[in-house]
């Protein structure tokens, strides 16, 4: 069946089997391979994308369920060619090693920061607890998400200050 999904801001149309998973739709039909697949049981969260701004595990959503909705993948994090603060923070804080869980972690982190710009260690850990990282031991992922929140707050304060002046 034919579906139209807004992917990273642009409408994309595809003719897919109803059983096709969103993860495969993104990877195979839309050729966005930054979304990874690590298990088959909704356990690892490597396939996490944002569906209408909320993190979902795209291996447990059918592609057709995204029809008419908005999907953000890691490729959609860049802003005007510039790194999203969470991307910069993951590099700066060494929040990644093999990079396989990283897109999902950054997307969940960015969604958390939209709601809670200054999360505690526990709040970050709870937010990413549906996702597995085998390399980092999570310490630096938590630091990276918190650092991104701080950077984003400072940027918006700067913007507010420049408007005020």
């Amino acid at each position: 069946m034919e579906i139209t999904v807004k992917v990273n801001g642009a409408d994309r149309t595809a003719d897919v089997e109803p059983r096709m998973l969103l993860a495969h739709l993104i990877r195979e039909e839309f050729a966005l391979t930054g979304t990874h697949i690590g298990c088959d049981t909704t356990s690892c969260g490597a396939c996490t994308v944002l569906l209408d701004g909320r993190p979902v595990k795209s291996c447990t959503v059918f592609g057709v369920q995204a029809d008419g909705r908005e999907v953000t993948t890691v490729e959609g994090l860049l802003r005007g060619g510039q790194l999203h603060p969470i991307q910069a923070a993951f590099k700066e804080e060494h929040g990644l090693q093999c990079g396989f869980c990283t897109p999902g972690m950054m997307l969940t982190g960015s969604a958390l920061l939209e709601e809670n710009p200054n999360p505690t260690d526990d709040e970050v850990r709870w937010a990413i607890s549906g996702q597995i990282c085998r390399c980092t031991g999570y310490m630096n992922i938590v630091k990276a998400i918190q650092a991104a929140g701080k950077a984003m707050s400072e940027t918006s304060e700067d913007a507010a200050a420049s408007v005020a002046s």
């Binding site: 930054g34 990874h36 298990c39 356990s43 690892c44 093999c98 990079g99 990283t102 607890s129 597995i132």
Partner: protein
């Protein structure tokens, strides 16, 4: 006069990783991201039985499904002499079954289709007639006189025993035990676990029918070795095989072996003339690829009354699965397990090991560990704690009394290993200080009076990595020496090619820093290539924490070769004699006239534009490193837990990890490696286990049953360091990737046992699930 030169970000700098730029953009290139024109997809049919005669395989209904190109059976593979392949341990392993299945999940047939969904649909249309046989799921069952014979196809194999192996001096050890004041023993099963990298295994096999060129993109930690193995297995000319490991989503040992799926996909590409992609699903990964551990161990320690260790005896039975496919040096049947005397000055030790076939998946790999060192470290560190209590000493005092002392290095152990360097006391002292050990013991005593169970566990591990010297270390006869190739371009930028393959360790940054240190070229100006067997020097790959000890050394060596030539070029440019030229941080200066200088960039340009008569053009070279010895990282970990006696749940309150891995090239990356290793060590201690029922059904076959730590369970870590350089390594580095997985499981278990010791609990086998802890408490209470 140029401005003050920018600091060279060589050894000791926490340089941010160069590889991250692609990963944070989702632009990594993992195996499943590779898409070639005309590519077909493969899915594998696996046995539901652990042991069953295969009467027939009929693929005709599957073949009839639209989109199915071929059904590959064992019979077809046998026609091409590919139904069996050699393992890395010199055994044979079935690629596709022709006679009987020997473990649940074994490869029975494969479908090649135009689409991965169709390939999986077709698996259900393959008709297989199995005749179930008796099942063996432990070495104890395997050794029974009436056990079913698993490897009946092997000539001369009349039982399930694979090998017997010994190390150390039996007579001396027996004498030590005969004279002992006290003997303490421990039986423990280090259960089967799985490395479970987040990316499963897979490949894209692309054989060009016109040229015969085979390009195989593969999740491999050792592309050069795999190319040679493919040449031997398939009889293909080695120059026409190119193995490419793209970005790898974690390995931890799981991606060292050659799996049947790789061979079937390659054969299918050869037969069909199309590229063939095979990507495991998670269940396939957990039930069929390289497992870890599964050692049943018995340890005994002989002691004098005053707490001096006088002897160690360890025997073990190894559950090797259906084929002996351990990935480890050929001569060492249980790897480096003989480092089991650990950090202690034990005058006598004796180790025996027996391996058995069982109806379980083959391929004992070292899950973030250097060839069975994790099992050894666990055995000695658990035994040491129990022995301390049995003899009535504090475990820290007991360790201190028996440590190999700093001035005893190089130290020859009772099993014949030569430890390169160490200062075990300093590492333990720092860990005790950081955790506040003395105060904690007071708090523990107070808590006990209130009925609270606090536990403090230590582990003072000795690692052994960097295999290894060519005399003793080879895989399938190929010596474990590794290479580095370096070219400095005319503009002073460089290209380093290495024989190791990163799976997240940060090689593109770390190895560039070694060159930066030696030649003064900034790491961001150095491109590092790895993973492509056509474009890298020969070497045996990345596992067992060997990249820095071997390839790191080769990188320093090749850099020094280039520095020698660069010095000649600098002398030519400066019009002085070579002896008068000094190199530091990328600047060649004249002795006594420091203002007279040229940079490495000037010299590189001259190497192509203005070199003296009689000198070869260019600035490049290659070096292969043959380690004179292994390296021995070490450290002390201290874990504090509180156990809830009513539920058996335990919570980690503190983890202090002091590591000594010699010189740290990139401290940020080193700490990241330690964090990861501690987490995997915690997972093994607390939750990770591949379990089987009596019929050989694998119960831990997905991430709902094979539990891995998430951010929520994972403790926070406090790190510390001491630095004892390796005396023989060119830059004094020892390797660190696996120390924390080797050292930490014993620390976690020791902490829980420490909490429960007064109740009478002496041991609980891992993983320490709350159910098992509760049961141990109840049993102890019942007396």
């Amino acid at each position: 006069m140029a401005a003050e030169a920018e600091e060279i970000r060589g050894i000791g700098h926490s340089v941010r990783r160069k590889e991250d730029d692609r990963f944070i953009r989702g632009a990594g290139n993992y195996i499943d991201d590779i898409h070639l024109p005309g590519m077909l997809h493969m899915a594998i049919l696996r046995s539901p039985f652990a042991h069953a005669k295969l009467n027939s395989v009929d693929g005709s209904r599957a073949q009839a499904l639209e989109g199915v190109i071929a059904v590959v059976t064992g019979e077809l593979m046998a026609q091409h002499n590919l139904a069996w392949m050699p393992t890395l341990s010199g055994d044979t392993e079935a690629v596709l079954v022709t006679d009987k299945v020997r473990f649940q999940g074994q490869e029975v047939a494969a479908v090649i289709a135009t689409d991965p969904y169709i390939a999986k649909d077709a698996l259900e249309l393959i008709d297989v007639d199995y005749e179930p046989l008796g099942v063996v799921i432990s070495p104890q069952q395997a050794a029974a006189a009436d056990a079913p014979l698993i490897r009946d196809e092997k000539e001369g194999q009349t039982d399930n025993h694979i090998y017997h192996w010994e190390s150390g001096d039996k007579e001396a050890t027996d004498a030590a035990f005969a004279q002992a004041d006290k003997v303490v023993s421990l039986d423990t099963w280090y259960p089967r676990s799985h490395p479970a990298p987040l990316e499963t295994c897979g490949c894209v096999a692309d054989i060009n029918p016109a040229t015969g060129q085979a390009t195989i993109y593969m999740t491999s930690q050792a592309p050069q070795l795999i190319r040679t193995v493919f040449a031997l297995v398939a009889g293909l000319p080695e120059e026409k095989i190119r193995i490419v490991s793209p970005d790898i989503g974690g390995g931890f040992g799981n991606k060292v072996p050659v799996y049947p799926g790789y061979v079937i996909a390659t054969a299918a590409s050869l037969l069909l003339g199309h590229p063939v992609k095979w990507i495991e699903d998670r269940t396939e990964n957990l039930i069929s690829t390289g497992f870890a551990r599964d050692f049943w161990m018995h340890g005994e320690m002989a002691l004098k009354e005053d707490g001096t260790m006088t002897g160690l005896r360890v025997s073990l039975d190894a559950d090797e699965g259906a084929f002996h496919a351990d990935a480890q040096p050929s001569k060492l049947k249980v790897g480096l397990f003989h480092v089991v005397s650990g950090s202690y000055d034990l005058p006598a030790a004796h180790v025996t090991a027996d391996g058995y076939y069982t109806n379980k998946a083959p391929g004992g790999v070292a899950y973030r560990c250097s060839f069975r060192v994790t099992e050894a470290s666990f055995m000695i560190e658990r035994l040491v704690q129990n022995a301390a209590y049995e003899i009535g000493m504090d475990p820290a005092e007991f360790r201190k009394k028996n440590f190999i002392e700093k001035d005893q290095f190089p130290y020859t152990s009772a099993t014949g290993l030569t430890y390169d360097s160490g200062d075990y006391q300093a590492a333990m002292d720092l860990a005790l200080e950081k955790v506040g050990y003395a105060q904690l013991r007071k708090e523990q005593a107070e808590a006990r009076e209130q009925g609270r169970l606090i536990g403090i566990g230590l582990a003072s591990f000795t690692e052994i990595v960097g295999a290894g010297p060519h005399k003793d270390y080879d895989i399938l006869g190929i010596k474990m020496n590794d290479g580095a190739e370096l070219r400095v371009h005319p503009t002073g930028k460089a290209h380093l090619k290495i024989s190791s393959q990163t799976q997240g360790q940060g090689h593109e940054t770390t190895f560039a820093q070694i060159v930066a240190e030696e030649l003064g070229i900034q790491p961001e100006d150095i491109k590092v290539t790895h993973g492509d067997s056509d474009d890298t020097p020969y070497g045996l790959g990345t596992y067992a924490s060997r990249s820095t000890p071997t390839v790191g050394a080769a990188t320093a060596m090749v850099s020094r070769k280039l520095a020698d030539k660069a010095r000649k070029l600098a002398a030519h440019l400066l019009e002085v004699s070579e002896e008068d030229v000094e190199l530091a941080k990328g600047r060649f200066t004249v002795k006594g006239a420091p203002d007279k200088a040229v940079t490495i960039q000037d010299v590189a340009f001259a190497a192509y534009t203005n070199f003296p008569d009689g000198m070869e053009a260019g600035l490049e070279g290659v070096a292969y490193y043959d380690p004179p010895n292994l390296t021995y990282p070490f450290g002390t970990y201290a874990v504090v837990v509180e156990v809830d006696a009513d539920t058996g749940q335990w919570k980690v309150e503190r983890v202090v990890a002091v590591d000594d891995c010699g010189v740290r090239i990139n401290p940020m990356i080193v700490e990241g490696q330690i964090h990861g290793g501690l987490t995997e060590g915690f997972g093994i201690a607390a939750m990770e286990q591949i379990t089987f029922d009596e019929e050989g059904n694998c119960i831990g076959a997905n991430f709902l049953d094979y539990l891995l730590p998430t951010a929520w369970e994972t403790p926070r870590f406090e790190l510390g360091e001491t630095v004892t350089p390796s005396p023989h390594h060119p830059i004094g580095a020892k390797g660190v990737g696996e120390s924390a997985t080797v050292g930490s499981p014993a620390a976690f278990v020791n902490a829980v046992i420490d909490a429960l010791w007064p109740l009478g609990v002496r041991n609980i086998d891992m993983p320490l699930t709350s159910g098992k802890v509760w049961e141990a408490i109840q049993n102890a209470k019942a007396g």
